[in-house]
């Protein structure tokens, strides 16, 4: 016997891919050839060892959670009519939006009585901004559509806005406990393009809107709360940020603080 089993025969043997006829030929040869028997044994051991070593990485719980949510949300291709699947949710959401609008209008009216004309204008603008922000966040939750950029990587999310926004911003490297970046959308507030950053804090969704700072400064910062949703704002020399979520205000404040620090470096 001069011909040994070919590599493809040895691999086919280890992988269980030989036909009955090929297997009979291989077995006959192995019975008389120690070298090929050794090779075949090694191939089988190598396959088994590779199979064990290859099962090396397990998905993090937050990814499992996110994908479970995604799979159960029933996302379908845009235009397939799923936008009409949540009429009751939309009615519910719009009810809250209407309540928020009323509440914010009341708050704005009180501000008008107490402050000067400039502050009055500023507060009204703030109220309108919060209303729009609240509206956008509720629409994001109710729509169940994926973000325009889906990534947990800040180096993917930030560059995605290049050429889309007339300003730039930084995303924090370290996030508070149990907080993850889900992606981002390009959206519009006051007819200006803004970045809507989407985070998860546990199972709570958070929208953080970053917009270019207008010429006039606002009178103060107003943490607002509407039907369980908290709205927090912050500003730096260049940017304004507004965060909205139903998560615990302290945890929302941690995220807001991290994002503000990423802009200022302090």
């Amino acid at each position: 016997m001069t011909d040994h089993l070919s590599p493809s025969m040895l691999n086919g043997l280890a992988d269980g891919e030989l036909s009955a006829a090929q297997l009979a030929v291989a077995n006959e040869h192995l019975a008389a050839c120690p070298a090929c028997t050794s090779n075949a044994l090694y191939q089988s051991l190598l396959k088994s060892a590779t199979a064990k070593a290859g099962q090396r990485y397990t998905p993090p719980p937050q990814l499992q959670e996110r994908l479970t949510r995604l799979a159960s949300s029933g996302l379908e291709a845009p235009g397939s009519g799923t936008g009409h699947r949540y009429p009751q949710q939309w009615r519910f959401a719009w009810g809250w939006v209407a309540a928020a609008v009323l509440l914010l209008v009341s708050a704005s009216t009180m501000m008008v009585q107490r402050t000067a004309r400039k502050a009055e204008i500023s507060s009204a603008e703030h109220a309108a901004l919060v209303t729009e922000v609240f509206d956008q966040h509720v629409a994001t939750l109710a729509g169940s559509l994926p973000p325009e950029v889906v990534s947990t990587d800040r180096h993917t999310v930030k560059p995605w806005f290049q050429g889309k926004l007339p300003f730039s911003f930084n995303l924090p490297e370290g996030l508070p406990r149990d907080t993850a970046l889900d992606g981002a959308n390009l959206t519009y507030l006051h007819n200006q393009p803004v970045a809507q950053l989407l985070y998860s804090i546990g199972k709570h969704r958070v929208s953080v809107f970053l917009l270019e700072k207008p010429g006039a400064t606002r009178a103060d910062q107003l943490p607002a709360e509407h039907a369980g949703f908290h709205v927090m704002d912050f500003s730096t020399d260049e940017l304004e940020g507004v965060a909205v979520s139903d998560v615990d205000p302290a945890r929302l404040a941690e995220l807001v603080s991290a994002i503000r620090q990423a802009q200022t470096g302090r």
Binding site: S8, E17, T50, A71, G81, T156
Partner: protein, 200 residues
């Protein structure tokens, strides 16, 4: 009764979503494991798997019930990887070498060093194969086309035909890549085992 289009879509999408959930979620550990091996970092792996799920969910209406869902979603993962930043870089690096090797090995020759195994004792072989770190290092050195075929064949236990479907290559190429991958692993393991481990 004739349903309005959006009502019909709502009726159809419920069970379909549930089917997708039932089919896709059990494959998450396998998809993430392969994604991590290919992309070599957790962030890219997460993005790769998430994008794969999104594409699969969007395209689920084109999936034929009863056909091989695992091969289908792994093909989406693989194509997503190829168009990702790390995938494009890896493809550019190894494409030419891969093509040349494919041609050279079609004859089935020169895949194993002459007598490479015969000189080794079974004990030495077992010591090498039980060294998990050496195996990981050897697998990490495989170029992506060889690594993916080994992951699908050995780790995911796919048949050659299934692998050919996932990678969109002929079965002959699957076989030659498996042979080359195992030769490369064998060579790396022989080089990487230290004298200390032999003495142990």
């Amino acid at each position: 009764m004739t349903l309005l289009p959006w009502k019909r879509a709502a009726r159809e999408s419920g069970p379909q979503t549930s089917v997708f959930e039932d089919l896709a979620l059990p494959l998450l550990p396998s998809l993430y494991n392969v994604a991590f091996w290919l992309s070599r970092n957790p962030t890219d792996a997460e993005d790769l798997v998430q994008e794969t799920f999104l594409k699969a969910l969007r395209g689920f209406t084109t999936f034929e019930p009863g056909s091989n869902f695992r091969a289908w979603i792994f093909r989406i993962l693989r194509n997503t990887y190829l168009t990702s930043r790390t995938g494009l870089a890896a493809t550019r690096t190894v494409a030419l070498e891969d093509e040349l090797d494919d041609h050279r090995n079609e004859s089935g020759t020169a895949l194993y060093p002459e007598g490479a195994i015969d000189r080794e004792t079974p004990e030495r072989n077992l010591i090498r194969l039980s060294d998990r770190a050496a195996l990981h290092a050897a697998m990490e050195k495989l170029p992506p086309p060889l690594l993916e075929v080994i992951l699908l064949c050995d780790v995911e236990e796919m048949k050659y035909r299934e692998i050919a479907t996932v990678l969109e290559i002929p079965i002959g190429t699957v076989m030659s890549r498996i042979a080359r991958a195992r030769t490369a692993l064998r060579g790396e393991l022989q080089v990487n085992v230290t004298p200390r481990e032999f003495r142990a």
